[in-house]
């Protein structure tokens, strides 16, 4: 129970007034002492007093803006807590064909933005966090159920990016975001990138222990630019097969070696991205506890209604009243 204007509660002592004073007209009568006490009259008198108390109380509570506090109810649903780890390097702003976006073709980041927003809107019970990486890892939105904020952060991903692609530290930041989130549920990291750099040996070791410490699902959505290396293809035997030459292939191998639930998707166009996101959506359907907000409920209307009922009772009593003097013929009370 909360009050929007608690200062009005100082008026509550006014409720005592009807206990001492009535709403009916007073008329003189020589002596009441000779009359036997009439229980019905007394009950009526007290009823009217309390009606007055309720009327004042109702109006004062209404003035104070009485309301039920916003509540959060925990419910069970299907979903997950997902950190979207998004590449903000400059190449994300090119098209899948590796060109500057023109009217007909959208850039990789614009496609990712559109499809990720749809994904966030579709997933009703999921909680999302956003981390970005480029030259440095960037913490954007902690894992939250405020969809509006997540969508606003995704809106910003097709802004001009920075130079490099430090995926290792980005993953480290996503994992620390997951650690900060205390609610139970399945956790997943969706890494959206269009090409990665080598993850250094030391960072690899740190990630290996970090991933081993907690259950996390990992999805790697590789937005492949036309003509660049595939992460699944085995290079011909005469070609160089090193992390420096084929970083995506080796990152994929590194993820596979982590022994965590992991899936890689390679998308060369927006349709393939959509298919991959749909697939992730299907896989992340574990039971989770999610909170549903029940908004604040204004009770002041009910308080006024209560007061109105009490006033109606007082008005009815007033209309039933008959004066000792006003009766035609001047006869006293019968």
């Amino acid at each position: 129970m909360i009050f929007a204007h608690p200062i009005a509660l100082y008026l509550l002592p006014l409720m005592l007034i009807p206990l001492f004073l009535g709403t009916q007209k007073l008329e003189g009568y020589p002596s009441l002492a000779v009359l036997p006490p009439d229980w019905l009259s007394q009950a009526l008198a007290w009823t009217l007093r309390f009606a007055g108390v309720l009327a004042i109380g109702g109006i004062v509570l209404g003035l104070s803006g009485i309301a039920l506090r916003e509540r959060k109810i925990e419910r069970f649903g299907q979903g997950a807590h997902i950190v979207l780890l998004i590449d903000r390097s400059a190449s994300m702003n090119d098209t899948f064909a590796g060109r500057q976006p023109s009217g007909a073709e959208e850039s990789k980041s614009a496609a990712a933005k559109r499809l990720l927003k749809d994904f966030v809107i579709e997933r009703k019970h999921d909680r999302f966090g956003i981390a970005e990486f480029s030259t440095a890892p960037l913490h954007v939105v902690p894992i939250t159920d405020h969809k509006a904020m997540v969508l606003n952060a995704i809106d910003a991903i097709d802004r001009p990016g920075l130079a490099f692609t430090d995926v290792g530290r980005g993953l480290g930041m996503s994992l620390s975001m997951i650690d900060e989130d205390v609610l139970p549920g399945s956790r997943a990291i969706v890494l959206v990138s269009d090409g990665v750099a080598v993850v250094g040996r030391r960072v690899q070791e740190a990630l290996r222990t970090d991933f081993a410490r907690r259950p996390v699902h990992l999805y790697f959505l590789y937005l492949r630019t036309e003509g660049s290396n595939s992460m699944f293809a085995t290079p011909p035997s005469d070609a160089e097969d090193t992390p420096q030459a084929l970083p995506e292939r080796h990152l994929n191998k590194f993820f596979q070696s982590l022994r965590i639930p992991y899936r890689a998707y390679e998308a060369e166009n927006a349709k393939a991205v959509k298919a991959a996101i749909d697939d992730i959506g299907k896989l992340e359907q574990t039971p989770i506890v999610y909170t549903e907000r029940i908004p604040q409920y204004d009770l002041s209307r009910w308080a006024y209604a209560f007061a109105a009922l009490a006033l109606a009772l007082l008005l009815a009593a007033k209309l039933c009243a008959r004066s000792l003097h006003a009766i035609p013929g001047g006869v006293h009370a019968r």
């Binding site: 440095a136 006033l311 007033k318």
Partner: protein
């Protein structure tokens, strides 16, 4: 007045009036009025000099970044609902947008989390070209159609070249907003961190560039010791200075504010950012539906109290005058008056 044996006096009218007003309050009485809100993009400088501990109360208990983050969270509390706050960071020479302006009341905890998690480790480079960062922040604010709040200590690293501040190409005053100078006036050492993020002392004079030696040498370079047009165009001596110490660069920031048509405020001098921000920006008004039902409710309460006051007056009259005059009885201390009829 009597109709059909029912007496209509002023009490009846008062109760009926109270009832009518209460019902009016119950139905609700809505008024649409214009509320001033803010729609602002906050860009926080996260370069190294923002780690200087010269803010807070007592002085030195907070570093500048913490103070800036605290000021933003306070700002959210001081702005009315429906205001929107976006967040960006600045290092090197551009501002980087983290998220578009978001409504502050419904997303308060997420916004607070995002602001609190800003960290100097998110900086992707060590340089700090404040003027360029401010200009790119203005570009982002223009694309979002927001006002700008730029929080920085104004410490350029490397120092500005002799040519001074790079020119502002936009239209001054097209984007309204506030530059907030964060930091103390005293020169304070800047903490230095190692690769693992542990503090390892403070920056020394030789750790930081004391002079901008990029681009053309200044005209007075010829008079410097050891000047050689090809081998030592800036003179042969290493530059000296106190760039390793930092304070809020009020003059520089005021100059930038003047160039870009923004206002300037210093965080150490203001208790809240909301009043300077609102006075620096054009009013943005949104219609807000306000329930004015307290007006009829208050009237109903007053009328009801007046009704009881009437009874009080009559009780007093009964106990003394009326009773004595009309009946000519000796006054009964208990009062021979009755409720009802």
């Amino acid at each position: 007045m009597t109709f059909f044996g029912v007496e209509f006096d002023r009490r009846t009218a008062m109760i009926a009036g109270t009832l009518a007003l209460t019902i009016a309050a119950m139905i609700g009485f809505h008024l649409v009025r214009k509320q001033r809100i803010a729609d602002v993009l906050a860009i926080v400088d996260i370069t190294g000099s923002m780690n200087t501990r010269d803010m807070g109360n007592p002085r030195g208990s907070q570093d500048r970044l913490e103070a800036a983050k605290g000021a933003l969270i306070n700002l959210m509390q001081d702005l009315p609902c429906d205001s929107r706050l976006g967040l960006g960071i600045f290092t090197e020479r551009i501002s980087y947008l983290l998220f578009d302006p978001t409504e502050i009341c419904a997303n308060y905890d997420a916004l607070e989390g995002a602001i609190s998690d800003l960290d100097w480790r998110m900086a992707w480079a060590g340089d700090s070209y404040i003027a360029l960062g401010l200009y790119s922040g203005i570009d982002i604010a223009r694309s979002l159609n927001s006002d700008l709040l730029f929080l920085t200590d104004g410490h350029e690293a490397p120092p500005l070249p002799f040519t001074g501040v790079p020119g502002f190409e936009g239209k001054p005053g097209a984007i309204k907003g506030l530059i907030v100078g964060v930091g103390g006036t005293e020169k304070t050492p800047i903490p230095k961190f190692d690769d693992e993020g542990r503090q390892v002392g403070v920056y020394r004079e030789t750790d930081v560039p004391q002079d901008n030696r990029i681009g053309a040498p200044p005209p007075d370079a010829e008079t410097r010791e050891g000047y050689n047009p090809r081998n030592a165009p800036f003179g042969a001596l290493p530059a000296t200075g106190d760039e390793q110490l930092s304070s809020v660069k009020t003059i520089h920031l005021e100059d930038l504010a003047q160039r870009t048509g923004l206002h300037y405020a210093e965080l150490q001098n203001v208790s809240s950012l909301a009043p300077p921000l609102l006075s620096a920006t054009e009013p943005r008004l949104v219609p807000v539906d306000t329930n004015m039902s307290y007006v009829p409710a208050l009237a109903a309460l007053l009328l009801l109290i007046a009704l009881y006051a009437l009874s009080l007056r009559e009780t007093v009259l009964f106990a003394n005058l009326w009773h004595l005059l009309k009946f000519n009885f000796t006054p009964d201390p208990k009062g021979a008056s009755a409720y009802g009829n």
